[in-house]
């Protein structure tokens, strides 16, 4: 074994705790990156599978206004296709679809299980979704000829406690109310089981079940694929969260009569884009954890190099080249990197399963995906996390390796180059410019996140100088302080080369936590105010099924019951490929101004439409512009009179007042009641008696509680990742203080032999930790505000189109301070304890051993 290698290994062993800490730092960083990627990939896969299960081999779809079309279009379109209409070139199959998300239960009151109801014409559908129904030789004949029959996947059957061979009557809950359905056969969804439950019925049954007789959801087309399979795009999308590569085919084809032919890949890309911004935010938090971990690596290697400065000097004197030493330190980093990555991959897998539930829950809340997801071993995120881990470790080790190689023969210490300050200033300048450039609107929310990254790095680069500034200021101010206090300050300053890195990690973690905290609090209060206004009416009625008008019975009793009401009929559609929800509103009596909406601009007015803020941003329209609203048979140009706040991440909202004269499509119908005359219970009794069966009456309080619960669930995943980054930072501080404690053992040994009490080193150590933590948190506070500014004013606006009201809760700042101090104390506790227990003799021995 070569001398170099033996020396190397001996040092690694002696610094095993430091090495272990560094390895752990890498492991946590890699683990978080991997876990986020895996969870993102799994939720994306669930969305893809759910889509594929529904689309089968269909490649395109024909849709109409309100995401529905009269079924009389179907035979005409089929004839056009058969007669060689060029717009249907390469089409191999055409099949009508009626679909909706419903809930299934074993008994009318029993617990419900969500399934996608897919109504198809089994004859036209042959070859399109064929592998799903599975049961060869039967079922379909009865599906067609017997009303109210269905095929159900075995997973859903099991959930509902029905045997696979059993013919069972189940209950379907949908907008149309509660209806029985007879499951005549089951099918095994096979590897498609990742998605949600799937119930297949004949198209006639689906229409009857959903009260949609005469209407189709869409017509699916199977076109020969001209484009190559999206292999490369899929891998790229997995590598870079937030990236959505749209298919080559872009715009849909106008078929006339308000019908459009669009590619399903295109629609899927739109759905992916919705979820992508959320996933990118998660990935950014994952990278943050890695960044904090890298400060650990950097600190550990710097420490190791400094401790071995003498050994490097001797090696150089023995003829070892500077380049060899450089390589040796890098090799050391690689060893740490590999160990860290391996541990990180294992840890990441474990972490991912926990994270997945949170991510899936959030996606479900945000985008309405019923995501029954499972982790799949995916080599792409694994390879990515491993590569990122190793490369980042090497980058973090580079400064230490350079320092080590610059130790002259027989040198005794690592030179701290002069002019480092100037270089650092230059780095800060470059980072600031980069950050500013990233804020350019064209770079979107990704630019915003990069700017946050740049700001955090600036803070990291500033940290040592800032802490030094603080310590020197204190020293100057405390000229008359006792000797050990001054000693503490000077020692802390001297230790900065080591502890500065840890402090920087702490600054990053705290600034992020504070910035995110401010953003979430601002968000929460904005949402609260928005909900209060939006749900101002004390009572809400949701009617079963699809309708176009207020039920007559209800209309009759309303004037006696309340002073005012708002009746909405809402349906889904697309404008410029953006999913929208159109709400046709009719108002009567006394209702709040602007229907209680929080207006960003303009107002709700009779002559035009009001649209939600995210939609206005996505469509790039504002008050004064016009909007082409799809209506049966074509489009209607309408003026935008107002833009209102909306914090749902789903489709954009379009509010169409009755006076705008737009035809009402059948949709879900809801009634808001304002100014009750008499007590609520009597009003509820009156309305319930008058309302059609299946109408749900809900109190304002219930709706508010429900909306807030959804909000809290949505942010749970964010706070978990935040906590992980904070923990890594506390860990870094612990590592740095341990290193400092080790280094100062000799010094304490001398002090102890001079008669200083054993408590003094303990106080020194704890004091230093508290000083560092305080300095860090003082820097983190303005920085956190900066992060929050970018998050609120740039990222949120660009990614989700939400504008928020600023909130500065003092407790958030206090919390940051306390958490930092606690982290500092915890980090210092172990080294302090070890110093407390050591005898002066032992401390002195280590000094000699070191020499």
């Amino acid at each position: 074994m070569s001398l170099l290698l033996r020396s190397h290994l001996r040092h690694l062993w002696r610094d095993r705790w430091q090495t272990l800490l560094a390895v752990f730092g890498i492991a946590i960083g890699v683990a978080v990156v991997l876990a986020v990627d895996l969870a993102n990939a799994a939720s994306r896969e669930a969305m893809r599978v759910a889509t594929q299960q529904l689309d089968g081999t269909a490649t395109h779809a024909i849709t109409g206004a309100g995401e529905r079309l009269a079924d009389s279009h179907y035979p005409q379109l089929r004839l056009r296709w058969r007669q060689g209409d060029p717009r249907f070139a390469d089409v191999r199959a055409m099949a009508p679809v009626v679909t909706a998300e419903v809930r299934l239960a074993r008994t009318p009151q029993g617990p419900a299980w969500p399934v996608q109801l897919l109504g198809v014409d089994p004859i036209a559908d042959a070859g399109m979704r064929a592998p799903v129904p599975g049961p060869a030789g039967g079922g379909a004949g009865r599906l067609i000829s017997e009303a109210g029959t269905a095929l159900l996947d075995v997973v859903s059957l099991r959930q509902l406690g029905v045997g696979p061979d059993e013919e069972a009557t189940l209950w379907v809950r949908s907008a149309a109310g509660l209806r029985p359905i007879r499951v005549i056969a089951s099918f095994d969804p096979g590897d498609r089981a990742l998605g949600q439950g799937l119930m297949i019925t004949d198209i006639a049954t689906a229409q009857e079940l959903l009260d949609r007789v005469g209407w189709l959801s869409r017509i699916d087309l199977q076109r020969e694929r001209v484009t190559s399979p999206p292999g490369v795009a899929a891998v790229l999308e997995r590598l870079f969260p937030g990236l959505v590569i749209p298919p080559a085919e872009t715009e849909g084809v106008d078929l006339g009569g308000g019908l459009r032919l669009t590619s399903l890949a295109e629609q899927a890309a739109d759905t992916r884009a919705l979820a992508a911004s959320f996933q990118l935010n998660l990935a950014a938090l994952g990278l943050l954890a890695l960044l904090v971990g890298l400060f650990l690596v950097h600190g550990a290697l710097t420490h190791a190099v400094m401790r071995r400065a003498r050994a490097f000097g001797r090696l150089r004197a023995l003829g070892v080249q500077a380049a060899e030493i450089y390589r040796m330190v890098l090799a050391e980093a690689v060893v740490m990197g590999v160990l860290g990555v391996l541990a990180g991959l294992l840890l990441g897998r474990w972490l991912a399963s926990g994270l997945l539930l949170l991510v899936a829950g959030t996606l479900e809340n945000l985008y309405g995906q019923v995501a029954v997801v499972a982790l799949a071993p995916d080599p792409v995120p694994m390879a990515k996390a491993a590569t990122v881990g190793i490369v980042a470790t090497l980058l973090a080790a580079l400064p230490a390796a350079l320092r080590a190689s610059r130790v002259p023969p027989n040198g005794r210490a690592v030179a701290v180059k002069r002019g480092g300050g100037r270089r650092r200033a230059l780095l800060i300048l470059v980072l600031l410019v980069t950050g500013a450039v990233c804020l350019h609107p064209r770079l979107g929310y990704v630019g915003g996140l990069l700017a946050v990254g740049a700001l955090l790095l600036v803070a990291a680069a500033l940290t040592p100088a800032w802490v030094r500034f603080c310590l020197r200021g204190l020293l100057r101010w405390l000229t008359l302080a006792p000797l050990h206090v001054r000693l503490l300050l000077r020692d802390s300053e001297r230790g900065l080369l080591r502890s500065g890195v840890a402090a920087a990690a702490l600054v990053i973690a705290m600034a992020t936590a504070l910035g995110m905290g401010l953003m979430v609090e601002s968000f929460r209060s904005s949402v609260d105010r928005w909900l209060d206004a939006r749900l101002a009416a004390p009572l809400h009625l949701q009617f079963a099924g699809e309708r176009r008008a207020l039920p007559d019975g209800v209309a009759e009793v309303l004037p006696q019951a309340v002073r005012g009401h708002v009746f909405r009929v809402s349906w889904s559609d697309r404008i410029d490929r953006q999913p929208v929800r159109v709400s046709h509103v009719s108002v009567s009596g006394v209702v709040p101004d602007d229907l209680g909406l929080a207006m960003v601009a303009g107002s709700v007015a009779d002559h035009g439409v009001a649209i939600s803020e995210p939609l206005a941003r996505r469509l790039e329209v504002g008050v004064g512009s016009t909007l082409a609203l799809p209506v049966p048979g074509g489009r209607r140009e309408l003026a935008v009179t107002g833009v209102f706040r909306e914090y749902g991440a789903g489709p954009g909202l379009i509010l169409v007042p009755e006076a705008a004269g737009v035809p009402v499509l059948p949709g879900s119908a809801a009634l808001e009641l304002h100014g009750p005359r008499g007590d609520l219970d009597t009003i509820i009794a009156t309305l319930t008696a008058a309302a059609p069966e299946g109408t749900r009456v809900r109190h304002q309080a219930d709706l508010l509680a429900q909306a807030r619960a959804v909000f809290d669930r949505t942010f749970r995943v964010t706070s978990v990742l935040q906590a992980i980054a904070g923990a890594v930072a506390a860990f870094g501080l612990f590592a740095a203080l341990t290193a400092l404690g080790l280094e100062r053992r000799a010094q304490y040994g001398v002090l102890r032999t001079l008669g200083v009490g054993r408590l003094t080193p303990v106080v020194q150590n704890l004091g230093e930790a508290l000083l560092l933590a305080t300095a860090a948190v003082l820097l983190a506070m303005p920085l956190g505000i900066g992060v929050a500014i970018i998050l609120i004013e740039v990222v949120n606006v660009r990614a989700f189109g939400w504008s928020l009201d600023w909130q500065f809760p003092p407790w958030l700042f206090l919390q940051a301070l306390l958490v930092s101090l606690l982290a500092g104390l915890l980090a210092a506790a172990l080294p302090a304890w070890s110093l407390y227990r050591a005898t002066p003799a032992a401390l002195m021995t280590e000094v000699r051993g070191e020499a």
Binding site: P122, P135, R142, I144, D202, V213
Partner: protein
């Protein structure tokens, strides 16, 4: 092992089952009699062809007496009522409109065209629900269009549709039978003839189009016992059956991008029934010939699993002035002379000796091309043949139930 055989539509039934559940791998070779058998056994046991319970489409689509409850049955002779009987009889389980024609271009090259529209009820008639979906139906339709070219290339296309929203159907007057854009319809209102057939088939290796008019029809000729055609000894195993045995056909065929003007003779069959099965029947050979002396001859024989010919085999001869005379099993003989093997190894007799002593007919019936196999969801042979001998003629031969050994 095969215990049932159905003529034409009966053969197509498992195909409907297959199409209805949309199993694409059912489009493999050998789903002919095997499929029949599977569906037949399903009819008896109430299980699907894969043995899974509850999947009893086989029972729904016929076989013996099982599941016939509620359907009308062809058991006694009935007066025919035209034009109403040109239209559908939805209370019977199965029905078809069957048109074959052998044609020639000006240069003498010959062609064949087949068009068939099948109707199948999935359930017996019930009470209609006024609130039901427009898609609600118990009728399923299937159409076949095939063209045989002079180069021996035979091509066939098929389509399916449910009997809803006008996707497919038949109207008695003015007559029209269609599945999407494949149409056979009266050219003039109030007149059954001339009929125009238009069909365009894109999803085959060599896309083709046909546009033919049929006129000067001979018929309707009532088959069997005044239109009641027995298919086995058992009462009720029969169909109502009439034919237009000779029509003048004229029009064009577009093949390989080239339009060819053609003319010739056509034959149309109309048949509806509910139950025609008999255990032990494995397949049939059906000949429809236009003789050069002006007579039309149809004979069919039903083969049994023991190699014998079923006693229900029969035929008809129609004279130039439209007089018809039924033929019984004893009136004719059919003897296979040579076979053509398809890619599955099934041997199809494409050369026969036909003898009808009472009519002075005796000669070889030879396929114009050996491969006129309809490789559709169900495989059957349907193609042009010519008879030599003292009274020559040309027409169509249909063979079913030949499988690989």
């Amino acid at each position: 092992m095969r215990r049932e055989c159905w003529r034409k539509l009966w053969l197509a039934l498992p195909l409907l089952a297959v199409a209805a559940v949309g199993a694409p791998d059912a489009r493999v070779d050998g789903v002919d009699a095997g499929g029949v058998e599977a569906a037949g056994s399903a009819a008896r046991t109430g299980t699907g062809s894969d043995g899974r319970p509850g999947l009893d489409l086989g029972a729904l689509i016929g076989g013996e007496a099982v599941g016939d409850d509620g359907y009308a049955v062809a058991d006694v002779s009935r007066p025919f009522d035209f034009p109403a009987d040109h239209g559908p009889h939805p209370d019977f389980r199965t029905e078809w409109w069957y048109l074959v024609s052998h044609l020639a271009a000006a240069d003498g090259r010959d062609y064949g065209v087949q068009f068939t529209l099948f109707r199948q009820a999935l359930a017996p008639p019930g009470e209609p629900d006024p609130d039901a979906s427009h898609w609600r139906t118990r009728q399923v339709w299937m159409a076949h269009v095939a063209v045989s070219g002079p180069d021996g290339r035979h091509q066939a296309g098929e389509r399916f549709a449910r009997g809803a929203l006008g996707l497919a159907g038949v109207r008695a007057a003015p007559f029209a039978a269609w599945l999407e854009d494949w149409r056979l319809e009266a050219v003039h209102d109030g007149q059954k003839f001339p009929l125009r057939l238009t069909a365009r088939v894109d999803d085959v290796p060599r896309p083709f189009e046909v546009e033919l008019e049929f006129d000067a029809a001979r018929g309707p000729i009532l088959q069997g016992d005044q239109g009641l055609s027995r298919k086995s000894e058992r009462a009720g195993n029969a169909s109502y059956y009439y034919s237009y045995t000779r029509m003048q056909a004229r029009g064009r065929i577009r093949l390989d991008g080239v339009d060819v003007a053609v003319e010739g003779l056509g034959w149309m069959d109309r048949e509806w029934s509910t139950s025609v099965l008999d255990p032990g029947q494995v397949g049939w050979d059906w000949f429809a010939l236009h003789l050069e002396d002006g007579r039309d001859l149809m004979v069919f024989q039903i083969r049994r699993d023991d190699g014998s010919i079923d006693g229900a085999s029969a035929g008809v001869v129609v004279t130039e002035d439209g007089e018809s005379r039924p033929l019984t099993r004893a009136d004719f003989s059919l003897e296979p002379l040579a076979s053509w093997k398809d890619e599955t190894g099934a041997a199809w007799p494409v050369s026969w000796r036909l003898t009808v002593p009472s009519l002075g007919i005796s000669g070889r019936v030879e396929a114009r091309h050996p491969d006129q196999l309809n490789r559709l969801a169900v495989r059957y042979w349907e193609g042009r043949v010519c008879l030599d001998g003292p009274v020559p003629g040309c027409g169509y031969l249909e063979m079913t139930g030949y499988t690989s050994p």
